[in-house]
Symmetry: C2
Subunit: 215 residues, 2 copies
DNA sequence: AGGATACGTCTGGGATCCCAGTTGGGCGAG
DNA sequence: CTCGCCCAACTGGGATCCCAGACGTATCCT
């Protein structure tokens, strides 16, 4: 009954450790990361740390300068806008590619999600609202049933997480308007009108200054 | 005037080497890759080879089984279809996000490309046609001016390359019809009608059995 | 005093060594 | 002859060591 597959590799531990440190804002943008320091801090060799940094570089969270060090990468406004455009494309594609039954199931699920969003905003709990909003938007990709697309979306999505935590609760835009837009989006998605969905989403992203907040 | 930045790292060399070997079909799907063999073959240590394999795993070209080895990953029909759907979403988004001047410039460029496609097909030179077709489709993403989106597209695209080389010249669908579809796509893109573009592209992909061929 | 230079110390990249886990083949028992 | 077990030869993961390159600083010359 042993589970040999769960063997958590040190490189993975290093990866999630550094990653969460960056996303949580514990490691500020621009700080130089030393393989040595990270290794000693996590009580392991430099080898897994280097592997983790390489992965993080591919994910776009750090930039490795040869013979210089690794720096926590920030995202400029342009990059955030580009990420938003990609998410819009994928969410739209998800809605467009969804079958009727999947759409119906999505409607149920996200309707509950919206209620939770309203409750969170009503008590001013932004920390609870942000994950709900992210999950809400992700649902439109999930409904398409395209695993590769969902993985691509997630890859883009979590660099967004960085900017969100940077702005720390400072939500741009009227909360009520955001929830209202979410409701409209869900309506368009439920009826399968992906053209309208895409345009509403563009508007929604622009109004909530989506790059930098939860949208 | 020295260019110290061109210092090509051994890990990069290993990466492009293995990558091209896989994409060219030199390394068949399913074969096990040994870090030792690869290292000795390329006259380097296992360290850069391992880094390269890790990158290739993230790119989806190989699968690494712990304590077992790395296997060249194949793509099943479902994955190819999913990739096609993503490419469609991104090409559509590129067209939708393009400005007027960029679209006009694209029209010029791709018109020449289509002529080259016709010439290649006329002399039955599929080896020349495939890169042209890939470049053609990529143009719709380029025109959007979203660097991150283009990078995402490329990541998805080159796993397609694998399937293309697998089918080795066996183009499914009528060549004349393919070029005709390309011409229609360019027309829709030139007028900025991204909705029509998306639907035509879906049809085009389905007709040419896009997953597995050049499309 | 100002600037060019040389050196010490940091960085990451690569090589080598060691270890645990996996596997498949061979040998022995039934 | 067949089945099961055991061992030997692989695998990749991690640790350690060594190396070349990049900076910062101190120093020396002008």
């Amino acid at each position: 009954m042993s589970r040999p597959t769960v063997r958590t590799t040190a490189a993975d531990r290093a990866h999630v450790h550094i990653r969460s440190a960056i996303l949580s804002g514990e490691l500020a943008v621009g700080v130089m990361l030393s393989e040595n320091d990270l290794a000693t801090e996590m009580a392991m060799s430099r080898t897994p740390v280097r592997a983790a940094l390489a992965r993080l570089q591919e994910e776009g969270l750090v930039a490795i300068y040869p013979q210089r060090g690794a720096m926590v990468r920030g995202l400029d406004a342009r990059e955030l806008e580009e990420a938003a455009e990609i998410r819009r494309a994928l969410e739209t594609a998800g809605v467009a590619g969804a079958g009727d039954v999947a759409r119906a199931a999505l409607l149920d699920r996200l309707q509950d999600n919206i209620v939770a969003q309203e409750r969170a905003l009503a008590r001013g709990d932004f920390a609870a609202f942000v994950p709900l909003a992210l999950q809400f938007h992700r649902g439109f990709v999930e409904v398409g049933g395209n695993a590769l697309m969902l993985a691509t979306y997630d890859r883009i999505q979590d660099r967004q997480q960085l900017a969100i935590n940077r702005s720390a609760g400072r939500i741009v835009g009227d909360p009520a308007q955001v929830v209202s837009a979410h409701r409209d989006l869900l309506g368009a998605a439920g009826s399968g009108d992906w053209v309208a969905f895409s345009e509403m989403l563009a508007d929604h992203q622009a109004r909530s200054h989506d790059f930098g907040t939860a949208g």
